[in-house]
């Protein structure tokens, strides 16, 4: 560190000595100037802007002397002056810029080209000061100077284009500038870079690009020789899409034909072009593109499955605005079929008594039983197309991070069972460097998990920190009669045993009494993502909140009387819950002298509560209830008993609404 500072000091001293105007007003040589300029640039790259600014000031002083040096060519004087002016503009040293530019403009024999560049520097300064209109005027004035060559005019137009691109950030203002560049009609001028910028530029406040502008830019861009194949891929895709959007289908077809004929383009792009061409023909004829046509195109171009996948999606992208997306939908569907993969499934089995807590699971024989172990994790957010490059993957060399990740794939697994009490999950997270990580205070990562008991219901999300076991739940609905927050019910425990972290999670059936997974068509949506130190791995290969990728928990049918026992358990707990809630909400509130509403109680509550109590009495002798009777009692009373507060609120709402809208009285 000290050595570095000493080096810096020496460098600075050298720079400052070099930059000092010599006592006899001896001008700095061109090479010395260039050297200093490089040093200033280096200071800027090093973010030492204060130092750079000081150096710019000294460079300015030096240049002012150089301007009087008869040995220095006019061209170099102007160049040096403009370099320093540009640096000073960036530093906000506008007075100095002004003085310098005026000196430059006053140089004897200054050329038209030099004047144009100086005028542009005035424009740059105005732009930097926030005077955009003035800047635009100054550039125009530069362009109006007489005797400018095409190259000079291109320089000025470049300044104007930069201003439209970087400052105004408006492609519609850039386009006429680029058109003026094209009108110079000089093939030696590099207009194509500006065409590419114009084609891809998005304005700052919106991402809106006019397709007309995109079409114009790519169309002209592709006329140039020497464009790389990579750039042609982008240009053809953009041009074809823009032409379809604009209804220029014949021209879109011509572009597709040109892309198809371009043998330097990747097979996927050429195949995309052919599919576009087929799609345009089919649209015009009102027919479909046959799968045999797609196959023939694939064969003809010797395309691989991955090429076809990208080509189908590319063609669909180009054609999606045409004919209500008729052809595009077909292509997109075919692409999807290519990468369709089955969602993971796990069978959750019934046990009489699940292991309790993380310690219970660590000690359980279930842990050694492969029937219960699920370890088929995939890379987090695995792209669909990855399914088509398996062979390539098998051959590739993996980096250190990926090698580390392999250990996490091997040592991450979950286990599940259910019993009469609820759903038990145990996630085993092996950590190869656990002790070392802990000693270094490094994070062990986290588990992010999701569950939805029906495809339609609000999903539950919870995150368990593997360092401390802290569990956070995130609700994606307000609690209501059909949704209970996991905060109230989820039990979680994290323990470390050796080099393994065990996370135990338990959902009691009370939380999900109305979503029991038995005798229903669909399984529960489920996802586990492990954020390991080497990266994410997820059961489905999907992303966070990616419900469409989540796997399914299937449920083993419970033994003969277990379901009734389970329901009976829920009924008993519901009855207790109801009794408590009824006392608190009805007896202590609605029947109270100070807060109560006798009419509400007598007309609405008492008749219903009598029925609920009678139903509760049946639980006194549960042995007398058949399975069918238990099922019926459960379906009718569980929603009331477990969610009595919502039943009561709905009753009260109806009562108040009726009273407030009754014809008699004033609602009070």
């Amino acid at each position: 560190m000290i050595v570095k500072h000493v080096k810096t000091l020496i460098l600075m001293m050298g720079i400052l000595m070099l930059a000092q105007p010599t006592s006899g007003q001896e001008p700095m040589g061109w090479e010395a100037f260039q050297e200093l300029r490089k040093e200033a640039q280096q200071l800027q790259r090093d973010k030492r802007l204060d130092d750079a600014r000081e150096l710019h000031k000294r460079l300015n002083a030096a240049v002012l002397i150089m301007l009087d040096d008869p040995a220095l060519s006019l061209d170099r004087k102007v160049t040096a002056g403009l370099i320093v002016a540009d640096a000073l503009i960036n530093d906000g040293e506008y007075d100095s810029v002004l003085a310098l530019l005026e000196r430059l403009r006053a140089l004897p024999d200054i050329t038209a080209a030099g004047l144009a560049k100086i005028q542009c520097a005035f424009g740059d300064m105005a732009n930097s000061q926030g005077f955009q209109s003035k800047a635009a005027d100054l550039y125009e004035e530069a362009l109006a100077l007489p005797d400018l060559s095409a190259g000079d005019r291109f320089f000025v137009l470049g300044k104007m284009a930069t201003y439209c691109w970087r400052s105004v950030r408006d492609p519609e203002q850039l386009r006429p500038v680029v058109e003026r560049m094209l009108a110079l009609n000089d093939p030696s001028l590099n207009v194509r870079n500006w065409l590419r910028i114009l084609a891809t530029m998005q304005p700052p406040s919106t991402n809106w690009q006019r397709p007309e502008t995109v079409e114009f830019a790519w169309n002209h861009f592709l006329r140039y020789d020497g464009i790389s194949a990579k750039d042609r891929v982008t240009a053809f895709a953009g041009l074809i899409e823009a032409r379809v959007v604009l209804g220029m289908t014949p021209e879109a077809g011509q572009s597709a034909a040109a892309a198809l004929a371009d043998e330097e383009l990747p097979v996927a792009t050429r195949l995309m072009a052919e599919l576009v061409r087929l799609g345009l023909d089919a649209t015009a004829a009102g027919t479909a593109v046959q799968s045999t046509q797609v196959e023939a195109a694939k064969t003809s171009l010797q395309a691989e499955a991955l090429d076809l996948y990208h080509a189908l999606n590319g063609a669909a992208a180009a054609l999606k605005t045409l004919d209500e997306g008729r052809i595009a939908r077909g292509y997109a569907g075919q692409a999807e079929q290519l990468v369709a993969r089955p969602k993971p499934r796990y069978l959750c089995r019934y046990v009489e008594q699940a292991p309790l807590g993380a310690a219970g699971w660590f000690a359980s024989e279930l842990l050694a039983d492969p029937l219960y172990r699920e370890a088929r994790f995939l890379d987090y957010s695995q792209k669909d197309a990855d399914a088509l490059i398996l062979d390539v993957n098998a051959e590739r060399e993996v980096g250190a991070k990926e090698q580390d990740k392999a250990a996490y794939f091997e040592q991450t697994a979950f286990y599940m069972v259910y019993d009469k009490a609820g759903w038990h999950i145990f996630v085993l997270c092996g950590e190869p460097n656990l002790a070392a990580r802990q000693a270094n205070g490094e994070s062990l990562g986290a588990l992010e998990m999701y569950m939805a008991p029906t495809p339609d219901s609000p999903y539950y999300q919870w995150i368990v920190g593997l360092d401390d076991g802290e569990t956070s739940t995130y609700d994606w609905s307000s609690p209501h009669a059909g949704f209970r927050s996991a905060k109230e019910y989820l039990q979680a425990e994290t323990r470390i045993l050796g080099d393994r972290i065990g996370v135990y999670l338990f959902f009691p059936w009370e939380m999900l009494y109305d979503k029991l997974p038995f005798g229903v068509e669909s399984g529960w949506l489920f996802e586990t993502i492990r954020w390991s130190p080497a990266g994410g791995l997820s059961w489905s290969g999907g992303r966070v909140h990616n419900t469409g990728k989540w796997g399914s928990i299937e449920w083993e049918a419970p033994p003969d009387d277990a379901l009734s026992q389970l329901r009976l358990g829920l009924l008993r707990k519901g009855w207790q819950k109801y009794r408590k809630a009824s006392k608190e909400l009805v007896d202590n509130y609605w029947r109270s002298r100070d807060f109560g509403d006798p009419e509400f109680v007598s007309t609405r509550l008492d008749p219903a509560l009598e029925r609920f109590d009678q139903a509760g009495a049946l639980l006194q002798q549960p042995e007398g209830l058949s399975d069918a009777e238990i099922t019926r009692l459960a379906s009718e009373m569980l929603p009331v008993w477990h969610s009595f507060e919502y039943w009561l609120a709905a009753e009260r709402r109806d009562y108040l609404e009726q009273r407030l809208t009754a014809a008699e009285g004033d609602g009070r």
Binding site: V245, A328, G482, H545, D594, R611, D654, L656, T661
Partner: protein
């Protein structure tokens, strides 16, 4: 005995949490349903929280915009049915039929997280009730293929565009410009196709005039097809003897509860979208502002404008806000406080801002302040800081914040608890992200004289109107927050109509069209969220009056009302019931106060 009990239970009408008035017509069944509910009202699903009834009941304050809703389940194919609302007649006047707007709730396919989340999930398609349309054919839904199409143009020129294409085919072009594309809903409800076995939800928006006399108003909604009346819904509206105040905070009845949103509703954006057609941009901006105002958004977070004609744009923007009835005091935004170049080039690298650059910033800030003062007559202006700053960015902004404070202005910044320790002294409104609204966070900022508002708890996007109502209303209010400033009105997606072309977020409250806005269930939920706070504010105001009135009866009624609010569980209470309880308390207190006065 056991059998008797079970049989009686079977007949319980209450199991679905509803009272059933036994009305079932031969042609259709109608259900009155709570407008704001957690229930997804789908064509094949009978409402669990509805009443089988042909009577709609609504209660609202003078000047309030009140939602009501019902579902129709046809017993046979009824064809194209025209629903027509009558005026609502009362003892002391009537409310014109024009104030009773009927829209159909359009179900369409959305991503797998639809109804629940703002995270995008393009790998699954779920049918979601969301759009409030006068013309249900504006969106065409293919149930078999689970695809959506939006109509462009009218009449013979009308054509549909596929708007449920997957992310993989989104292409290079942002193909949909909502300000230019000819998408527009009808001004009035068009005939609705009613088919056997397919229920439809209808949405009423009742605009109670400010001057409407308190009392009961009744009217009808007739259903007719082929010139034949199929039936009627009766509408009974109680207009309450009071109007709603602007929302105020729970902890201080004198402090405004800020209701705002991040938005694209500005002339800069619209001009860009409309190819600098300023007149069209102004029309569209004004229409959006009025829609925002109708939904209780009081002011707009305004972006920094960087254009040649920035002064003109800012001036007109402020004038349009005033025309739309929005508040411009305080004004949040416009102020050029953050600046990429200054921040990242100098302040974050430990370099001094060159004097020329600093003077330039000071001059521009002064110019903008002067402009705002000229148009609005005040300088109660909040400059907006860098979004979601980490500590280094936040601390680097200090000189910029200090500049604002030196000029008598204030600072608005997104932030969180950790900001308080090192930046608490320089933020005046802090916007907290996330689902947890903690009163202890609010207390800290209030102790500094600052205010705390919320975003991303959740972002806009979840269609469930009850979720939106709770998280933007009582949950913030009861946590002593000073407002809601969520992200955002609309605008995140490449194609606003497509829920499947993004792998990140599905953030939006509404769907912008060329000449206006398509409202949604969740957007109506937002209005009710703020109306909940307005009702609570009214309750507190009347309660304070009652407490001060003198008699024990009035005092106790006032205290009981305040007690009700204090005991209210904002996380789980049925908010429709809460609204009615609050009204009940207000009416009771008013009656006592009137009695005391006599």
């Amino acid at each position: 005995m056991k059998q008797q009990v079970l049989c009686r239970l079977l007949l319980l009408p209450v199991l679905a949490g509803c009272m059933v008035a036994s009305v079932a017509r031969a042609q259709y069944s109608s259900y009155a349903v709570p407008a704001i509910s957690n229930e997804k009202r789908l064509p094949d699903r009978l409402p669990q929280d509805g009443r089988l009834s042909d009577e709609l009941r609504a209660v609202g304050a003078q000047g309030e915009i009140v939602p009501a809703s019902f579902m129709i389940f046809p017993e046979r194919d009824l064809g194209a049915v025209q629903l027509t609302a009558s005026a609502l007649a009362g003892d002391q006047g009537s409310i014109p039929a024009a104030n009773v707007d009927i829209r159909v709730v359009k179900c369409w396919y959305q991503g797998g997280t639809g109804w629940h989340s703002y995270f995008a999930d393009s790998d699954r398609r779920v049918l979601i009730p969301e759009l409030l349309l006068h013309d249900e054919d504006l969106i065409r839904v293919d149930d078999e293929a689970e695809e959506n199409y939006v109509r462009l143009g009218d009449g013979d020129a009308a054509r549909y565009r596929w708007v449920s294409y997957p992310d993989q085919v989104k292409g290079a072009l942002p193909i949909f410009n909502h300000a230019l594309e000819p998408v527009a809903d009808s001004a009035e409800l068009q005939p609705v196709q009613l088919s056997e076995g397919s229920g439809k939800q209808f949405w009423l928006t009742l605009r109670i005039p400010e001057e409407a006399a308190a009392g009961l108003y009744t009217g009808t909604i007739s259903l007719a097809a082929g010139g034949e009346e199929l039936g009627r819904m009766t509408v009974t509206l109680r207009v309450l003897p009071f109007s709603l105040p602007p929302p105020r905070t729970w902890y201080d009845l004198e402090r405004d509860f800020l209701s705002t949103l991040y938005n694209h509703t500005n002339l800069d954006v619209m001009s860009e979208l409309l190819g600098e057609d300023r007149a069209a941009a102004e029309r569209k901006v004004l229409a959006e502002m009025k829609n925002l105002r109708d939904h209780n958004v009081d002011t707009l977070l305004l972006p920094r404008i960087q254009r040649r004609d920035a002064e003109e744009i800012m001036t007109r923007q402020l004038e349009l806000m005033q025309e739309a009835g929005m508040s411009t005091d305080p004004l949040i935004g416009f102020m050029q406080v953050y600046n990429w170049e200054l921040l990242y080039r100098y302040l974050m690298t430990g370099n001094e801002i060159p004097p020329g650059k600093w003077q330039q910033l000071v001059a521009q800030t002064e110019e903008q302040r002067a402009l705002i003062q000229k148009v609005l007559g005040h300088t109660n202006i909040y400059g907006i800081g860098w979004d979601e700053p980490g500590r280094s960015v936040l601390e680097a902004q200090l000189p910029l914040f200090a500049l604002l404070h030196d000029m008598g202005m204030k600072v608005y910044s997104t932030g969180k608890d950790t900001h308080f320790g090192y930046a608490g002294f320089n933020e005046d409104i802090v916007n907290y992200p996330g689902h947890e609204f903690k009163p202890e966070s609010a207390r800290k900022w209030h102790a500094m004289g600052a205010r705390i508002v919320s975003y991303a708890g959740p972002h806009t996007g979840p269609e469930n109107p009850d979720f939106i109502r709770r998280t933007h209303g009582f949950q913030l209010y009861k946590a002593d927050y000073d407002g809601s400033a969520n992200y955002r009105y609309y605008g995140y997606r490449r194609n606003i109509w497509n829920d499947f072309d993004s792998e990140s977020y599905r953030i939006c409250f509404v769907y912008p069209t060329r000449d206006g806005i398509i409202d949604t269930l969740h957007w109506e939920g937002f209005r009710e969220a703020i109306d909940d706070i307005r009702y609570a504010t009214k309750l507190c105001q009347v309660a304070n009056e009652a407490v001060a009135a003198g008699s024990a009866e009035a005092r106790y009624a006032g205290k009981k009302a305040l007690q009700y609010l204090a005991l209210l569980d904002q996380d789980s209470a049925d908010l429709n019931t809460v609204r009615l309880e609050i009204i009940d308390h207000i009416l009771r207190m008013q009656r006592i106060l009137e009695g005391d006065a006599k």
